[in-house]
Symmetry: C2
Subunit: 140 residues, 2 copies
DNA sequence: TATTGTTATACTCTATAACTATA
DNA sequence: TATAGTTATAGAGTATAACAATA
């Protein structure tokens, strides 16, 4: 019994890890033709929800603020994002999508979602719902 | 109806993307204390299954062979992997875990699996099985 | 003093192009 | 000619430590 349970645990964990790698590949494959690294695509997609400060963004993306500074520099040079002064705190700034950035962000978002929808098209509604709920419960 | 279906599709795709990001973070967090980048941990864990040639490894990891050369160089310097001559083809080599590399590979593997098992501990067996099957069907 | 963001520095990851050696 | 792997090069991602400006 213990063996059976342990084996099932490993199966779920392995399936999640394998799926993660596959999704990472898909993310890279869909970002690339748009001229974006997966990390850049992630950043742009986060900003679809609205401007964010550097500290918040670094937390959302799980990277150091200094790493984020470089990323924002590169995206700002390409006019995909802009640093806007933060009203009420002269130390802070808000990172905002430019019109071009917004367009690209939507393209990047749609591209991954489309690929994933194709990949999961065969799953019946009940399964889709169960998987969605389960994943949301571990994502927090 | 169309709206409902489309919304459900987006939910599954979004849940998968969010889960991917969360798992990437976990992968990074568990690798780091072992002195490994997530990519290095991935490489070492693949080699648990046995030695692989550079071309096969690059395909498995979805990176160019030249990128892999650098990674193997760094791991070889730390005596975690070794380049073994390939019997029967003097152009080729096989990448193999050293004893230290094998130990570390297992530690890295167990660390992620443990974290994921903790994260998914609340899911009932039926759900675990459904999710595992669904994920395996998209991982191919 | 604490916080926001940047700079300086050093590695790692990655791709492209050109190359060597062997098949 | 084709394949296995490497070298050279350039750019991107990342962390740590030290710093400036503001709160």
């Amino acid at each position: 019994m213990v063996t059976t349970t342990a084996a099932r645990d490993t199966d779920l964990a392995s399936a999640l890890v394998q799926a993660m790698h596959r999704l990472q590949d898909i993310h890279a494959e869909t970002s690339r033709p748009l001229g974006l690294t997966p990390q850049q695509a992630h950043l742009l997609c986060v900003l679809i929800g609205g401007p964010e400060g550097m500290t918040d963004l670094s937390r959302i993306l799980s990277i150091e603020r200094s790493s984020l500074t470089s990323m924002v520099d590169r995206l700002e040079r390409r006019s995909l994002v802009a640093r806007i002064p933060s009203p009420g705190d002269r130390r802070a700034c808000r990172i905002e999508l430019t019109p071009d950035g917004l367009t690209l962000a939507h393209q990047a978002h749609d591209a991954v979602v489309d690929r994933i929808n194709t990949l999961t098209a065969h799953l019946p509604p009940t399964t889709r719902h169960a998987v969605t709920t389960a994943l949301q419960s571990i994502t927090g």
